[in-house]
């Protein structure tokens, strides 16, 4: 399979390690079972799988927002026990404070750390510009479209300068055109920021377009069914979307997921 070309990036050192992770809700719902995964530093890894297979659960455990039933998560070699400054979360429903301006929302992570107002606003302004929202600093979330709100969520996560960005279906509440533009901007942003992204989506195209590595999860209980390396093709967004390797990878994932649907 062309999609599984091994390349040098596969040897990149991993920043997040998930070991024997299981999660059972209320002693009944087995959401995750014995997950073992490495997330290479500086790369984007996508968790892809049918709805309800435990993607959000895994991301929240890595974020330290949920306790695993068993197993552990290591970040930078240290076992996590809760949220930490080396990780930042981007929420599916944006989780912006409606009473605060774009600037205050973007600076909120720094505000919580007790950084002085001038300093944190300056940093937030930089990231607001980076996500393409210059001029909207004093707007309120209700005045922005869904796509713009998620850009604020992204700026807030970038501003705290975490090593790992955890994104739970960040574009699912955004319309299709905005979504494409957003994906392209994400690729450009990853070039500048050199961070590690862990990204949840249920869109195969989105996963392959953005990722270095795609983790396919099976139906409940969520298990890793396959890890696919998807080296990013060079060129313009349109060239990438017509690239042979890209299309082959999308097709391969589609065939694999179809098995779950037919089961």
């Amino acid at each position: 399979m062309a999609a599984e070309t091994s390349d040098t990036s596969a040897k990149a050192e991993s920043i997040v390690e998930v070991r024997h992770l299981s999660k059972t809700y209320d002693g009944r719902v087995r959401a995750l079972e014995d997950i073992n995964l490495s997330f290479p530093k500086g790369q984007l890894t996508t968790l892809l799988g049918p709805s309800g297979c435990g993607k959000t659960t895994m991301l929240k455990i890595i974020a330290g927002l949920l306790e695993p039933s068993s197993g552990e998560v290591f970040v930078n070699g240290k076992k996590i026990t809760g949220p930490g400054p080396e990780r930042a979360f981007v929420f599916q429903d944006f989780a912006l404070m409606p009473w605060a301006t774009v600037l205050r929302n973007a600076a909120f992570g720094l505000e919580l750390r007790g950084m002085a107002k001038n300093e944190r606003n300056e940093i937030a302004r930089k990231y607001i510009a980076e996500v393409g929202l210059t001029g909207f600093e004093n707007s309120y979330p209700r005045e922005l479209s869904g796509g713009m709100r998620q850009r604020v969520g992204l700026a807030r996560a970038l501003a705290v300068n975490a090593d790992v960005l955890l994104m739970d279906e960040p574009f699912s509440a955004v319309d299709e055109q905005t979504r494409r533009k957003f994906q392209e901007d994400m690729l450009a942003l990853m070039e500048i920021e050199k961070k590690t992204f862990i990204f949840v989506t249920h869109s195969i195209e989105e996963a392959v377009y953005l990722s270095d590595q795609v983790v396919l999860l099976s139906r409940l209980p969520g298990k890793v069914s396959e890890i696919i390396k998807a080296p990013k093709a060079a060129g313009s967004p349109d060239e990438i979307r017509r690239d042979k390797v890209y299309l082959d990878t999308v097709e391969h994932i589609w065939q694999t997921l179809r098995k779950y649907l037919e089961e």
Binding site: A63, L65, P83, A88, F89, F91, A95, W99, Y140, R156
Partner: protein, 251 residues
């Protein structure tokens, strides 16, 4: 309001009642219903009378103090009950009991505990107003968008920051709704407290007027109190409308 298919604006329907009142009053059908014009005269006289000023400022003071304590106690209590299930189980029952109990019957006990003065009135206002503020705040916390809390947690908010920077702002619409209802109950508290103590403020005036059958003055005072209760709750509703925008953007 519609009469014979014709739409009557609010002000006119009020006018109809006033006219009706005037007619019934002029006919001298009931002793307790004087003509409305007499009440208007009484209101104008009352506004200049010293005993009214004394009673009003005394009542206003008790009301304001009682409301202040209700806010200081009610909001934090509601926040904690909404956030911590154990606190809710422990205190929720009492809040509901006090909310639905006939509080007037407690005033004699408050009187025994706090004497026949201002303190009793302040405590009465507090007992009338605080529980609805607590309950609404608590309900607001329970309906808060959970990802807003996760956001605070993931960015490392301390529990104080969680309350002061996120919770209280997210719950502001419910807090104001509780405050509006609390104010109306608080006005009731002042009057009932003063009526039962019967020695101070508006309660004293009301007692004097009704015992002496000064019905014009009695109604003048009642109308004034209605206007005060409606006026303050209207002010809160203005504030509510200003922050309404964020009710729409909650998950």
């Amino acid at each position: 309001m519609k009469i014979f298919g014709v739409k009557i604006p609010m002000m006119y329907s009020l006018l109809i009642w006033v006219v009706l009142w005037e007619i019934v009053g002029q006919m001298e059908m009931f002793l307790v219903i004087p003509p409305f014009s007499g009440i208007v005269v009484a209101i104008i006289e009352m506004a200049q009378a010293e005993n009214f000023h004394d009673a009003a400022s005394l009542s206003l003071y008790s009301f304001a103090m009682g409301m202040l304590i209700s806010i200081i106690v009610g909001i934090p209590l509601g926040l904690v009950m909404g956030k911590i299930p154990a606190a809710d189980r422990l205190l929720g029952m009492w809040v509901n009991v006090f909310l639905s109990a006939p509080l007037s019957s407690l005033v004699p006990i408050i009187m025994i505990l706090f004497g026949f003065g201002q303190t009793t009135i302040i405590v009465t206002v507090f007992m009338f107003a605080v529980w609805i503020i607590t309950l609404d705040t608590c309900a607001g916390v329970k309906h808060i968008n959970p990802s807003l809390l996760e956001m605070g947690e993931s960015f490392g908010a301390s529990s104080w920051q969680m309350y002061s920077k996120i919770l209280i702002w997210a719950v502001l619409p419910e807090i104001l709704a509780g405050l509006r209802l609390g104010l109306i109950r608080g006005v009731k508290g002042v009057i009932i407290g003063q009526l039962l103590v019967a020695l101070i403020g508006m309660g004293e005036l009301l007692t004097v007027y009704s015992r002496g059958f000064h019905m014009e003055e009695f109604w003048a005072l009642i109308l004034f109190l209605f206007a005060f209760a409606l006026g303050t709750s209207w002010l809160i509703s203005l504030l509510e409308r200003r922050i309404e925008y964020y009710a729409g953007s909650r998950g």
